[in-house]
Amino acid sequence: MSTLIKFTIDGVECMAEAGTYIVEAARENGIYIPTLCNIRGVKPRGSCRICSVKVNGRPMTSCTTPVADGMEIENNTPEINDIRKAIIEALFVEGNHFCPACEKSGCCELQALAYRFKMMVPRFPYNFPRKEVDASSPKLIKDHNRCILCKRCIRAIKTEDGKNVFAFVKRGRNVRIIMDPVLGEQMSDELAQKAVEICPVGALLPREKGYQTPIGKRKYDLEPIGSDIEKK
């Protein structure tokens, strides 16, 4: 039998089943906590830290921390929001994100969060790293300029027998995403499409398609990120 427990977010009383991750519990109570690396229904990794909250005064990632009875969670505070904004800014300067020409513009979670947190000019200097477009796969184009290394593709895109199609190679600054040469080539069109959709940014692109949805009709044109949760 599941047990309902009580906790607060920014002083608002909430209820959820024990063991639910904070980010999900918040969602059930109509409160949006931003996420990037998290995928609903897939084991969380807690790598991007954008979902950071304070639990009883201590910073935690809300996508990996289950709620417990009596927890006092801080979410929408100036301090936490500035940390989130700093993370977004860091992601922007670490890659080459030219939103106006990107196919994902309007449907990109990073861009949507930058709007939500009113990012203007990043506080960090731009790195302008040299990165490549890899068009060798017959199914997908990988634009390393835009990859935020969230690992969503690694965790969510698997063959029918459960094998990973994507993986990381190298480490540190040189880490990047690769596709298994055989599995990548054999990938079904549906799985390729799923990979495009799972990628929060425009790092995985479908071939010979782009800008199909007119400006004004794109995902976040219609519903700014988080607003679907907040209006419930």
Binding site: V133, I141, E208, G210, Y211, Q212, P214, I215
Partner: protein, 483 residues
């Protein structure tokens, strides 16, 4: 002792230009040069990008006429995706793009005429620079300033409805368009509250042409002689010789009206047009191969288009076209300041075309994109507000852009702008010992007739900053004047 004069506009993003004028010991002009830094970098920048990004990427070349780049690139990619050229698209695809283009032409020409050119005309070339700007126009001729603003707004709304945004939209995609026009959008453009409806736009466009004709009558000698020089003219024309700003074949006529190029499929432009590099300018000098570097240069833009076309396929603009042609007895018009006249006739044509398109039910169609057999190379050409614009792409077997070549309108007008500046320098500087304000203004006005990218933004808010520096033959600075 020879002298060298340098006129250097302190510019912003559009480009950077300076004028150098060389005098001999008697004060005669021996040589003039207009130096422009332009955007070669973009041709490298797009290399390696997936080809379908090109129309969205390259429009960032320019904040003034992004739609032209957007459409020229999309036209080149139509060829690559096997949709062919011109009539290869679905009626909705082609007509939505045309509407976008005429909206762009309308707003860009309106900006140029009301904001950039009208101050020169209303206040005179020698007038106080403090008045000779759009603020001055607004103070003294409020109705004109308001019309300029509203016409621009109307054109921008058309762009937004077709491209998705007023600047840097995404509407044109390889093989077609990503949206149609809703009935509500259409009705707003056709019957919106005054002044934002198409009939008012046509009325104001006609009034602008009439304004120019009056002005011309009163200032005939200046308008006819200022920076005038003979040249060839090049543009697209429709197969039947009609003015067509979106699609057609290449035609060029010489100063006497003889066709020196006709019915050329622009996919083969490299067979007919070559680009010369000169050591002192970053901008290339295009010319017609078969006539050689010396004689093969040509003008593009509104004046060139009215010189190459046989007629205009809308009634009001055609009537004005006939008057325009009659003024030179049917011969090509080589008077630089008549560029303004031609531009206004094109505004009228663009307004009439928008009305025709808005009344066409094809704009509400759902069949938006065509695809065929893939090609690895394509050329797109369009008549941009400032003239013929070439985009040429080649892709590799992984769909990445391997080669891009762009010949922008201002590049096509490189030699003519140099000639215009030379003409002004000879007229105003010969025998002069000092740089006059009138001289500086005249150089600026001559360049501006061509509406090159480098001058737009700087002048819109006031004066294009100029600096003239005078050197003697030994390169010693002897005088410097700034506006």
């Amino acid at each position: 002792m020879g002298k060298k004069i340098t006129i250097e506009p302190v510019t912003r993003v559009e480009g950077h230009g300076k004028v150098t004028i060389h005098l001999d010991n008697q004060g005669n002009v021996t040589r003039t040069r207009l130096h422009i830094v332009e955007f070669r970098g973009f041709e490298r920048f797009v290399q390696g990008r997936p080809y379908w990004e090109a129309p969205v990427l390259v429009q960032r070349l320019c904040g003034i006429c992004p739609v032209s780049h957007h459409l020229a690139a999309a036209k080149a990619l139509d060829v690559i995706v096997g949709a062919g050229t011109g009539d290869g698209l679905t009626p909705t695809g082609e007509k939505m793009r045309r509407l976008m283009h005429y909206g762009q032409m309308f707003q860009s020409h309106a900006l140029h005429f009301f904001h950039l050119a009208s101050p020169d005309l209303l206040f005179g070339i020698d007038s106080d620079p403090l008045m000779r700007n759009i603020i001055g126009v607004a103070l003294k001729h409020k109705d004109l300033a308001v019309q300029g603003v509203m016409m621009r707004k109307y054109g921008q709304e058309i762009i937004k409805a077709t491209a998705g945004k007023k600047i840097h939209g995404t509407g044109a995609i390889p093989g077609g368009i990503n949206k149609n026009l809703t009935i509500e959008e259409r009705d707003a453009f056709l019957h919106g509250a005054d002044p934002l409806n198409i009939d008012k736009m046509i009325e104001w466009s006609q009034a602008a042409v009439d304004f120019f004709k009056d002005y011309h009558q009163q200032n005939q000698s200046m308008i006819d002689n200022f920076a005038a020089f003979p040249s060839s003219h090049l543009s697209l024309v429709r197969k039947d010789g009609a003015l067509d700003l979106y699609h057609g074949v290449l035609r060029a006529v010489d100063a006497e009206g003889k066709k020196i190029l006709d019915d050329v499929d622009y996919q083969e432009y490299t067979k007919y047009i070559n680009e010369e590099v000169r050591s002192w300018s970053y901008m290339k000098f295009p010319y017609l191969y078969h006539l050689g570097k010396e004689n093969g240069w040509y003008r593009v833009g509104p004046l060139a288009r009215l010189n190459t076309a046989d007629f205009i396929p809308t009634p009001l603009a055609q009537r004005e076209f006939e008057l325009f042609k009659a003024y030179t007895n049917g011969k090509p018009n080589n008077m630089s300041m008549h560029m303004h006249w031609a531009r206004l006739i094109e505004i009228l044509h663009a307004a009439e075309m928008m009305k025709e398109l808005l009344n066409d039910p094809d704009l509400q169609g759902d069949d938006l994109v065509t695809k065929g057999t893939k090609q690895n190379e394509g050329v797109g050409v369009i008549e941009a507000p400032r003239g013929t614009l070439f985009h040429h792409y080649r892709i590799n077997d992984k769909d990445q852009i391997e080669m891009a070549n762009l010949i922008v309108s201002t590049t096509n007008n490189n030699e003519p702008m140099n000639r215009a500046v030379n003409k002004v320098a000879v007229d105003y500087m010969t025998g002069q010992k000092e740089i006059t304000e009138g001289m500086m203004n005249a150089v600026e006005v001559a360049i501006r007739a061509y509406d090159p990218c480098l001058s737009c933004a700087t002048h819109a808010l006031g004066q294009m900053p100029l600096e003239i520096t005078l050197y003697d033959a030994n390169n010693n600075l002897i005088d410097r004047k700034r506006t």
